[in-house]
Symmetry: D2
Subunit: 244 residues, 4 copies
């Protein structure tokens, strides 16, 4: 059943083409590295910013159970009508996994309603991601923490709504903490923000990071259920007394 | 101290001018009826849609601790740059109280990130608003429930994020329930959605409804605190080992 | 995979033996009626109050993924050491589904930390259970609401901690509302409180009620993960500066 | 108004009498050091373990708005009927502030329903307590973080229910993180857990720590409101159709 989950991995895919260091780590793009950890388990498609409609046509989105989003330098190039289309799909149940610098993507800001701002520092520092919700399905198979030898730092205050479920909190060598694994329900859709994955570090090859993303897909997959009816509700379900 | 809280009551103020029935209930506008319950306790200002910048200039907003919002038929006439200005103030700590049909206002939808859709019916039916969080300051002085003899019905599903604190749930004569008192923190600001107040019913003269709004103002008032610093965080607080 | 979930259904099983009306509805006991809806899908065992150790030996609990609990008139007869044993299993990941009058069971009160008190009335009144969280897996396959023609009323205030996820809210004919589907994480375990099921009504034969219970089992099943280590944490993960 | 809040500070008061190092830091007891920061602002009383009824008679508790609790080595010496008495007062609205090692107190465990276990290490390490909820009244007047040069470490997983509001998260020099400022509503009462304050460090003289405790008192103070009625709810508020 889980095997049937249809995943689309969206990547901005610009750093990999303009920056030698990033290309050396992710020669086929971050999306392909993420997908490598998921193919075989899920049905995986890819979409990138510079495709027609950013690869997110109506057909693609209607055939997507869970969308993964990585973006960084070109959030502003994502067209608003595509953002609205993705948003509408989340309201109707599509899962969304937002990775790292996509905290500043249009779709995440639209879903959160806050600035989504934070502190950051590129200093190749150690990150230790602690599990604070040990029974959550997103950390199935994960130990007490995930240690990444080098990552970009993200620090509090992270301007997000309090997560419906806070699953992971990061410790950084340079002295900060960060809410790194954050679960939300929005409309009929589920949204998982997962912090790690700066383009200059090989984070998406880490087996634990891949496991969390796979768990996140299962957690965020839509529930089989009719979309609620909204609007004018007549007649009433119960008789209403005539007030004269 | 609480007496110094500066409240601005914003009203669309169109129904009262175009509809005889509404004018007969709220001859000076819904905003004035709400304000009548607050003057003497708070410092109260008024703003309406058809004023310059909808009455929400930078000066007015910078001098507002808590903004109350009532709108219904003309959400689309509120200019986006004013919505962004209000949103920015909420991020920085201004409280916002969203009343009744303002569930569909641009500012509420922007803050929630969801469709904010619901069911509705105008049938002059009884509403009983139950307190489900008895220790919350917003229900100070309120009994087990508030009964309104006639109101518009709003029914679930109400497409909002799960409230950070759910304080009241409505029972409707016609068979529906509704999450009627919903508290959120967004950025450094607090947002309180309060359901009652259809323009054809004299709800804002009800002493309990007025008490809840007054309590909401105290709860939503800003905390004296510097706004967090965001962005590039160098140097680090702790030494970072050179990884070579 | 889901098929492998091991469910133990615990029932007080006293009403059915002492009360003719209850026996006529549930001749083999409430536990068997609940189990009838689950056998074939899950691996189902049964346990009742008047068995040795209430049927909840170490062996039985260690072989249980999700425990379902129905009790009403004899909460006080459940021995404290068995309650502690169940509690310990929940901390370590076992799911627990608490039905109807088990709101006053020792195990639920111990897990919630509150009085778990509420209002009640036996008047054969209509209950309509509204879904307020349409994307939650517990309401998979359920429509906008479940209607029960006759049930005991439970009314607010229900003295529970605010649910981590509120999934359903009941409307009652007599004028009350109730938070009827409440999800909690406690320790590594998940707890689902589901309101319906008074012993004098055939509620556990209702297909939607059975579907919610089955969904609840899947939601509450343990995650495969080592139990966290607690206690003295030496040596440290990072060097600590000598403060002299 | 806030000035009228009646605070009782409860301290185990054993370390200070048996341990020279602790006595040198807190010669009059931890309770007096905490109270020193509160007197003048609140009405402050003191109670200690070795008094009659641990100093928590019915009269004392009925005259207490907010109870502060510090305990460590003698949790087991607190009598269960006193714990039940405190618990009952919290259900009815009394605030409770639980400090540091009182995470393992009987009253906190009873209110949380979980093991309240954690990791710990005494290594005189640096703690930096980050604010993650900048609009919360408990951090009024506090900067981005509070830095304590030397403290005992507490690390995740901290086995508590997910806080209703998570306000602060600690970074520790030795590599751990901890949810340090946790707000709960239980019954009509509010509970604030605040991590710092090991007996061998002068933490309760720190002006920011004192400010947080004072803010916590204001936040946890009871709301003026009748206690909900529970139990048999007849007659019904609305007519119930005769089902024959």
């Amino acid at each position: 059943m889980a095997e049937a989950i249809k995943v689309t991995i969206w990547n901005e895919f610009r750093h990999e083409q303009s920056n030698e260091q990033v290309r050396s780590i992710y020669p086929d793009g971050i999306h392909r590295a993420i997908g490598e950890g998921l193919e075989g388990t899920f049905s995986v498609k890819y979409a990138v910013l510079d495709s027609h409609e950013h690869g997110l046509t109506e057909d693609v989105l209607n055939d997507t159970d869970v969308l993964i989003w990585w973006g960084h330098m070109a959030h502003g190039d994502v067209q608003d009508y595509i953002v609205d289309r993705v948003h509408d799909r989340v309201m109707k149940g599509m899962g969304l996994i937002v990775l790292h610098s996509a905290h500043f993507s249009k779709i995440f800001k639209k879903l959160m309603g806050t600035s989504c701002d934070l502190k950051w520092r590129e200093a190749r520092e150690k990150e230790r991601i602690w599990v604070v919700n040990p029974g959550h399905p997103i950390v199935e198979g994960i130990g007490e923490y995930i240690e990444l030898p080098e990552e970009e730092m993200y620090g509090e205050h992270f301007d997000i709504p309090q997560p419906d479920e806070l699953v992971m909190v990061s410790w950084f060598e340079g002295g900060e903490v960060f809410r790194s694994g954050c679960c939300y329900t929005r409309g009929a859709g589920k949204v998982f923000y997962f912090r790690p994955g700066h383009e200059t570090h090989p984070t998406y090859y880490n087996p634990d990071i891949r496991k969390v993303i796979a768990n996140g897909i299962r957690w965020a997959a839509p529930v089989a259920r009719s979309y609620p009816r909204y609007g004018h509700a007549v007649p009433s379900l119960e008789p209403i007394k005539d007030k004269g």
